[in-house]
């Protein structure tokens, strides 16, 4: 697969995404600068985390109008695979490729910590191939954001639910001596509506998620659950 990692002024997880794809998973990957205007030959686009354009106006609001985004929108509408992580998710919301918007975290704090995610839809290309996690239903990876409090109005939320577009929810695992055996929805780090941590579009080719899978790709980083999402896409 040929991957492109988009680099905006202020992106800061671009190298991490490049690293997991190139060095950990042996993929063909290139960077695309925000002023680039072509994605020809690309199978999958990653919009990385960071603070594109300094988070001015609203997170992702300026990045959405950078030259490469017209091409990303066209690419996604033609069925190309797009993964937006953290600030990348915010850009997808601003660009209208995914519904809803981000609000400040309920606590008003920047939160940087490991969280647990339940896989709510196992039929997406991003989750279907998730194998090797302890439970195959609950993944652990970090979040690092101040605006990850997902909001959607009633109608949008009910459409997300109806169409199985909620891919990940924040959850609290219940442990026993063998590991995670079940979970509840009692943990919600940022106040997201319906515990939403990640959603996809109706067609299922665009994923946005606040947690950072690229920061959980090797044991030395504290876990490999994030890698499973990239591997799932590669297996398609």
């Amino acid at each position: 697969m040929k991957w492109a990692v988009i680099v905006f002024p202020g992106s800061n997880c671009d190298h991490d995404c490049y690293y997991v794809l190139k060095d950990v998973l042996g993929q063909d990957v290139c960077y695309k600068w925000h002023k680039d205007t072509s994605l020809s030959g690309i199978d999958c686009v990653v919009l990385p985390g960071g603070f594109s354009y300094g988070d001015y106006l609203r997170c992702g609001a300026i990045a959405r109008f950078s030259p490469i985004m017209n091409e990303v929108i066209r690419f996604a509408n033609n069925g190309g695979i797009v993964i937006g992580i953290c600030n990348g998710f915010q850009i997808l919301l601003e660009s209208g490729l995914l519904p809803g918007a981000m609000l400040r975290n309920e606590s008003l704090r920047f939160i940087c910590k490991d969280v647990y995610l339940s896989i709510e839809n196992r039929e997406t290309m991003f989750t279907k191939g998730v194998k090797g996690a302890k439970t195959e239903r609950v993944l652990k990876m970090p979040i690092a954001h101040a605006e990850g409090n997902y909001f959607a109005d009633k109608e949008t939320l009910s459409n997300l639910q109806k169409n199985n577009q909620i891919v990940f929810r924040y959850c609290k695992p219940e442990m026993d001596d063998k590991g995670i055996n079940s979970f509840t929805y009692t943990d919600n780090p940022n106040g997201s509506i319906d515990n939403i941590a990640g959603i996809c579009n109706k067609k299922g080719n665009v994923l946005g998620m606040m947690p950072h899978p690229e920061r959980a790709v090797e044991q030395i980083l504290g876990g490999i659950d994030g890698r499973l999402i990239f591997e799932s896409v590669i297996r398609q």
Binding site: L57, R58, A61, F65, L93, E94, P99, G100, A101, L103, R104, N105, E106, S107, L108, N149, F151, A152, D153, G191
Partner: protein, 76 residues
């Protein structure tokens, strides 16, 4: 030159944690009777000449506000 003022605020009913924190701070200082505090953004745009109102609304809808969570008000 024409100056336009744009006020962007969170839609009614959308949680405003910043406003809430300010309200709590004011209450802790014994200011009474504050029902609600909402935080918004104020922007000034200067145009070299006249700008049709329709064009201004486009600017506000597409860029200056996010219609999913925000409302705006224009003052000429």
């Amino acid at each position: 030159m024409k100056k336009v003022k744009v006020f962007v605020t969170l839609k009614e009913g959308i949680l405003d944690p910043q406003g809430l924190a300010i309200k709590h701070a004011l209450e802790s200082m014994d200011y009474e009777g504050i029902e609600d505090v909402r935080v918004g953004k104020y922007m000034e745009l200067k145009f070299s000449g006249d700008i049709p109102e329709e064009r201004l609304h486009q600017i506000c809808d597409q860029v200056l506000s996010n219609p999913v969570i925000e409302d705006y008000r224009i003052e000429m």
